[in-house]
Symmetry: C2
């Protein structure tokens, strides 16, 4: 299939795309193919105005009164409920605030405390660094053994599933390989061993149907600045299954998680339910951006997003395999739909230069050490024609040798 034929096919797919109208709800720089929404989503309409209103009206005029009058005090819960409907969680089971790292720490410690007679914390050696680093820290603080699974070893989790197992912490989608883990099966396996399961939804929420309640997940965390378009460093979220909410014993006992913050008691008494995941005052201006961005998702069926995501990644993989054949570029992503997230990596020795050359051509992906060029497909605003344009640019970059660059520039990408 020539690029011209591919473009015609892509146009037909875009014409039939029921989500196509959503692209107009986002601010997108012209002439840019943005395949990095898995790192930082784009600005949704309404976000700018929400942020201006938060600064000018709520903060500027309302001042301290806005904690009640503008609803700042409930913003963590309201954003939490908006996220909840995207991940199969009931209202009142998610709190937004702080970073994914903080939620991970808080929920890993609290998860271990649910099973004080058990002594093993399990994660995946390929998990995102912050998940790994915090697992190391938590294991040390709580004096439990940390077991690191080898992602290539399908039996590794089974081996860890014994009566010492307390908590398993995994990412739903691997940030490098794009592998989508089997949330149902893994959670069931951990529960069969009597353990508690924590999922990091950073790379799945909003693009992969997630059913936390249906999968009986105990704890989950996620970030909102990727597919949820919350903005750079937007506050993250923590989920607690209703069965654990009122016994969850968190270590980050900030005053806003108290049952009665304004009583200013001397002794911590946790708020009912997931309100105890609040810690200090959340960054309201950033959270106002997130709240506005989440309105787009209020009208979206994630199943349709998923279908488009698979259509986009199928097309990308097919075009790469045809047009980059013989260049040494390897596709890193599962071919089976059931195991694929919403991203595809390409492996090549000159991945860093490759990404830089593509950026110069207006195609934005990111580089992941040591040899991966990563491309994310955010179906709310990425079109099939963008996929064709991206692969055409890749073929040009490789043909012209633009990817062979001096490696002196600072590396810019953020997951």
């Amino acid at each position: 299939m020539t690029f011209d034929d591919a473009l015609a096919r892509a146009r037909a797919l875009d014409d039939g795309d029921a989500l196509a109208g959503l692209r107009g709800r986002f601010v997108l720089p012209e002439d840019l193919v943005y395949l990095d929404g898995n790192s930082l989503g784009v600005v949704a309409d309404g976000v700018r105005d929400a942020v201006v209103a938060a600064v000018e009206d709520e903060w500027g005029t309302g001042l301290i009164r806005s904690w009640n009058d503008a609803g700042w005090i409930t913003l963590s819960a309201r954003c939490g409920d908006a996220v909840a409907q995207l991940v199969g969680a009931p209202p009142g089971s998610i709190t937004v605030g702080d970073s994914t790292s903080i939620h991970l720490f808080n929920l890993m410690v609290a998860g271990l405390r649910l099973l004080p007679d058990r002594s093993v914390l399990v994660t995946d050696r390929a998990n995102f660094p912050t998940d790994l680093y915090l697992a190391q820290s938590v294991a040390r603080l709580c004096d439990v053994e940390l077991v690191l699974l080898d992602p290539g070893d399908a039996d590794a989790l089974s081996a860890a599933c014994d009566d010492r197992l307390a908590l398993v912490s995994l990412s739903h989608v691997d940030y490098r390989t794009g592998v989508l883990h089997d949330m149902t099966g893994v959670t069931e396996q951990v529960h069969d061993a009597g353990g508690v399961m924590l999922w990091d939804l950073a790379h799945s929420a909003g693009v992969v149907p997630v059913d936390l309640l249906g999968c009986d997940v105990d704890l989950a965390v996620g970030c909102t600045y990727k597919y949820l378009n919350g903005g750079p460093g937007a506050p993250a979220y923590g989920f607690v299954h209703p069965r654990w909410q009122d016994q969850l014993d968190t270590p980050l006992t900030g005053w806003l998680g108290h049952a009665s913050p304004f009583a200013l008691d001397g002794v911590y008494r946790p708020a009912e339910g997931v309100g105890r995941l609040r810690i200090g005052s959340p960054p309201i201006v950033s959270m106002s951006a997130l709240h506005a961005a989440l309105q787009v998702y209020a009208e979206v069926d994630v199943a349709m997003v998923r279908a488009k995501s698979l259509s986009l990644t199928d097309l990308f993989i097919a075009l790469v395999e045809e047009h980059l054949a013989g260049t040494g570029v390897e596709v890193v992503a599962p071919r089976e739909h059931t195991r694929r997230g919403s991203q595809v990596c390409l492996r090549l020795a000159e991945a860093y230069g490759f990404v830089q050359a593509l950026i110069a051509r207006g195609v934005i992906g990111d580089f992941r050490e040591p040899d991966l060029a990563r491309f994310g497909f955010a179906p709310l605003y990425v079109r099939h024609v963008d996929v064709v344009a991206a692969v055409a640019a890749m073929a040009e970059v490789l043909a012209q040798g633009e990817h062979v660059l001096p490696r002196h520039r600072q590396r810019a990408a953020v997951t």
Copy 2:
């Protein structure tokens, strides 16, 4: 002195105020006397434009590239350096991000780890709740004894200063009584006992001269949404004395605190210096507001701010004592300048109704359980004439009985 005479005197003081011009740098609602800058500061000029630029240009157009191109990646350090010059800290000793609660947790655990052979954590029973709650949590996690000082007992700290003492965590200014602690003397006393000292600067930074290096302080935290005008829930900061920076062993090992975040190593290796206080991605839009707000302070001498603060609180106390005499209202604030922060509380049984009635009259303070009406004086924008107007309103409220209200409305104030 009649209110008319007081007003004339206040006008004279304002005319001679070298900081008077700064008031024009802030957005202040008309006809409002805002004495709650110790809870939430006001919008500085430049803040709105900075936030719009962060959303429209940096995020909207720059997208992921802005981590480098717009300097997002260094924003925590740049805001940290701006705060550092207000609190006598050297450049590179403060990191901004997360909340005060998170910095407290991180630095209390790390502080205890500096002296692993010691086993006592000390704080003040009257400390702000989040400081207390996190001290309780840290003592439990680290298996050390928590000693709560009685603020009325001048010898309590001496009694705790033995060879078991590891860490003392205190607030520089008490959030209720406005008492300014003796940073030099207390830090020296703790050091003499071989302990580590952590100060919470939430209610002093920006209005009281703080000399962290001169006082040889080990660790400090503070919030930026009070006198520093960073905005609701703006990110907080952590300070580490240079002597500890490269051995500080923090529990919140987020990926951005890694020596080489983008290497995506599997094992945590802390960044040099205070960079290890970074955890997850910070909320850039909120931090952009803070960065702009801190520009006002770049031109300000905190000693002048302090002089004006004392002039404002002196006037307030004098007018309250004269005009509210016989109403049962008691001034809660040290009379000695050396022991007074930048706030004054009034104690009365109907404090909640008193604050509500004042708000209805356009004078904003806040209520603190159980019987305190709290008024903060932010000298960058509060004038002496505002003090007169506030006390005149108080006299009216009490004379009219407006403070005797049904106590059914939700309590709104946030420290």
